[in-house]
């Protein structure tokens, strides 16, 4: 029997499936439902220093294929808009009620040592098993000098990671990376220098999903105006896979634990990220579209896949695809593959 139990950056988890820091992990009742559904852990909706932010509405945009299926969504939602203390009491309660599940605290603060350290301490005191630094949010917070505004500057990534790691001590710290940069390895290296145990990636991609041609404004519209938002869902999976592989392949960052995020919808998506070196995965869009129950097939499908291939644990196939992911100039140019067309099979 395949065992899905795994260790993600040193955090023991009953399975590699966590919910990412996002609306589905914003409050007690949602996280309770997620745990009941079978999720191994959650990264709590990012917490900041009080007073809480005020959100805009509407805050979701959708990108569809020709048949109406959802390819990706974007959002302009900010971090938690509820008081810090309320969130922390709920985390404490859930840690008591579900001791075998993981809660990672996600945090974001202005670039001040005291702000980061003070916030981190409060969250740690609520009993989380690790911290995740939100340095990736591409909208709203970055205009305030937070989120991706920090994540795009390697020195700041290193600095904030170091501040938080000093406070976290033995508990793992994951630095969440923004994909809105040129080379993902650079901030990953900075996180490592800052003492991060792992990286979580990718955060959402800068985007405008559509323009309303009647109102002549981008969607989602807030009182006639729109703004760029964070793009996520199956559409960003290829981008995330590439970035995860880049960190797993680079000798400077290979030792970092990777908590992979980006369009993961099925067990197969998860297995692909694990094959490229991820220790665990985080999901948001699929849970928002289909409900927490999608973890059922993630668990059943991954278990069946592992049993069919005689992998007893996640570690048995983790990183197996890394050595086959090479630079272009390492490809065998003598290898010849041509399409053979069977006219009778054409439709």
């Amino acid at each position: 029997m395949a065992d899905l139990h795994c260790s993600i950056g040193g955090v023991e988890s009953i399975n590699p499936f966590w919910l990412a820091s996002a609306p589905p992990t914003d409050k007690y009742i949602n996280v309770k439902r997620a745990f009941e559904a079978g999720w191994g852990g959650v990264v709590w909706k990012t917490l900041g220093v009080d007073p809480p932010v005020v959100n805009a509405s509407s805050r979701y945009g959708v990108h569809r294929d020709e048949r109406g299926g959802i390819v990706g969504i974007n959002n302009i939602e900010l971090i938690s808009d509820r008081p810090l203390d309320e969130n922390l009491r709920e985390i404490e309660r859930l840690r008591r009620e579900y001791p075998d599940r993981v809660i990672i605290g996600s945090l974001m603060a202005p670039i001040e040592e005291d702000a980061w350290k003070g916030l981190a301490e409060k969250i740690l005191n609520a009993g989380v098993q690790g911290l995740e630094l939100n340095l990736g949010c591409p909208h709203g917070m970055c205009e305030r000098g937070m989120g991706s505004a920090v994540g795009q500057v390697p020195e700041m990534v290193e600095q904030t990671t170091r501040w938080v790691k000093t406070v976290a001590g033995k508990l793992p710290v994951f630095t969440k990376l923004t994909p809105n940069i040129t080379d993902i390895v650079v901030p990953a290296e900075a996180a490592r220098r800052g003492g991060a145990d792992g990286v979580a990636l990718i955060n959402t991609v800068n985007s405008i999903v559509s323009v309303d041609l009647n109102s002549m404004a981008p969607t989602p519209m807030v009182d006639g105006k729109g703004t760029h938002g964070g793009y996520c869902g199956t559409a960003v999976k290829p981008i995330a896979l590439n970035m995860v592989s880049a960190i797993a392949r680079d000798p400077e960052t290979a030792a970092l634990a990777i908590s992979a995020i980006g369009g993961i919808t099925t067990w197969r998506d998860a297995a692909e990220f694990i094959a490229l070196g991820a220790q665990g995965v985080q999901v948001c869009t699929a849970a928002m579209l289909y409900g927490f129950r999608i973890v059922d097939d993630m668990i059943a499908g991954l278990t069946n896949f592992m049993e069919e291939n005689q992998y007893r644990s996640i570690g048995d196939f983790r990183g197996r695809a890394i050595r086959n992911t090479v630079d272009w100039n390492e490809l065998n140019l003598n290898f010849d593959l041509k399409a053979l067309i069977h006219q009778d099979k054409c439709i």
């Binding site: 099925t266 289909y290 097939d297 059943a300 499908g301």
Partner: protein, 445 residues
């Protein structure tokens, strides 16, 4: 959806053509088509299709699992709710169950092909072999008897075995499967599927079937109850309703179920001599199965006569269409009044009287017509065979909310109780729920 065509004006069909006429009516999905159909499912939360399924299969999840490539998990999702999900995928009237409830109907689209997808997932798994998918609980030391190896009995046996009990099934016939084996049209159950399904079901272990053993003689309910810790009755409705009209005992006036059974059990259907003019009496799916098969066997004219209008037929609209596209003439609003002898002494014609509703009551109009018939097939329903010892109500075995009969420790389900429609899927649900109730009964005793 293209149905397998048949050759019209069938007299003297070649054996190869007959074989083709009885092959799979709807060919199984290819992997490509299955993915395409699966992609149409919206994966609804709180999906109405689940509620429309008597066995409550988590349809959106099993379809999602086909999409995700977890075919084993898909089969497991189906079979954990309905161990005969394979037969149900083929034979369920999905058009009035899950597919009717599909939300895509509300958008004016075709519903998701749930039946075909279910069949795909289950048959791929059964064909692939491998482990049984379900494991037995620790042995309870209890022994259970089941009367009848039809869908209800086998479903009960499987669930009881899974819950750790030892099960002995007593079956009157030489083969298991009940109506799945003997009473459904051959083209619905092609490739000996009923037997393959039972073989898979028995893979759980702990189930013994004794053939040729019917209730009667020493084998009474009371005796079984003494020998076993609990008993389940799943003997269906094995008696057929009688038609007492002049000439109804003539040679050539037969029960449709017997005709269907003969066809199902014939290795080579081309050895069965087709009748020239067939008249089928009745309005249910058995009538359609008999009529369409008579046509596909090579009858020149097949007329299905029903005493009321098409709306009142228990055969679904899909089944009625199947009959029409197979060149079966549906003659509505007429009832048989007598059968006439031909010069060989067998049936030669059936005489009908036209009917009408007068003040809400069905009656004859006095106007009659005659149809030539060298084979008359009666499909006017089945009833419970006489059974001693348990309370009977409205012609069926009475059970309480836990499927327990008037005798403690004796449970019943399937067509022999009145739990809903007389469908395989309902029988499977009855058997499953009765086994769970029997388990609770045994553990509290």
């Amino acid at each position: 959806m293209g149905l397998r065509p048949h050759l019209p004006n069938g007299a003297g069909l070649a054996p190869a053509q007959i074989e083709d006429n009885f092959a799979d009516l709807t060919p199984p999905l290819t992997a490509t088509l299955a993915k395409s159909y699966a992609s149409q499912c919206l994966y609804c939360y709180d999906a109405p299709c689940i509620k429309a399924c008597p066995t409550g299969i988590d349809i959106p999840t099993f379809i999602h699992q086909i999409r995700s490539g977890n075919l084993k998990g898909s089969a497991q999702t189906i079979l954990s709710a309905n161990i005969m999900g394979g037969t149900c995928g083929r034979a369920c009237p999905t058009e009035v169950l899950c597919e009717q409830a599909c939300v895509l109907n509300a958008r004016g689209e075709e519903p998701v092909k749930i039946g075909l997808l279910q069949r795909h997932a289950v048959e791929k798994r059964i064909a692939a072999g491998g482990d049984h998918l379900f494991v037995r609980a620790a042995p309870s030391g209890k022994r259970l008897a089941v009367v009848g190896a039809g869908p209800a009995g086998l479903s009960f046996a499987h669930r009881a075995a899974m819950l750790g009990h030892g099960v002995t099934v007593f079956e009157a016939r030489p083969k298991p499967g009940g109506l799945n084996e003997y009473g459904l049209a051959a083209y619905k159950m092609a490739n000996d599927f009923a037997q393959k399904e039972v073989e898979f079901l028995l893979g759980i272990g702990g189930i013994k079937i004794e053939y040729g053993k019917a209730l009667g003689g020493d084998q009474t309910l009371a005796a079984l109850r003494e020998q076993f810790d609990a008993v389940f009755i799943g003997l269906g409705t094995s008696a057929v309703n009688r038609l007492t009209l002049p000439g109804s005992d003539l040679k050539g006036v037969e029960d449709a179920l017997a005709f269907i059974e003969t066809l199902r059990q014939a290795k080579d259907k081309s050895k069965i001599k087709p009748a020239k003019n067939v008249v089928v009496i009745g309005g249910g799916n058995t009538a359609i199965d008999a009529a369409v098969q008579a046509k596909r066997l090579g009858a020149e004219n097949v007329t299905l006569v029903y005493r009321r209008g098409a709306d009142a037929m228990s055969a679904t609209a899909w089944e009625q269409d199947l009959a029409r596209t197979n060149d079966v003439v549906l003659k509505l609003w007429a009832m048989p009044i007598r059968f006439e002898k031909d010069d060989r002494g067998a049936v030669g014609a059936a005489v009908f009287e036209k009917t009408a509703l007068v003040d809400g009551k069905l009656g004859g109009t006095g106007e009659s017509f005659t149809l030539p018939a060298d084979l008359v097939l009666k499909a006017i329903g089945q009833t419970l065979a006489p059974l001693d010892g348990v309370r009977i109500e409205g012609g069926k075995i009475w059970v309480d909310g836990n499927f327990q009969t008037s005798l403690p420790g004796i449970f019943a389900g399937g067509d022999c109780i009145s739990s809903g429609e007389d469908l395989t899927v309902q029988a499977v649900e009855d058997g499953k729920r009765a086994a769970i109730a029997a388990d609770a009964y045994l553990r509290s005793a």
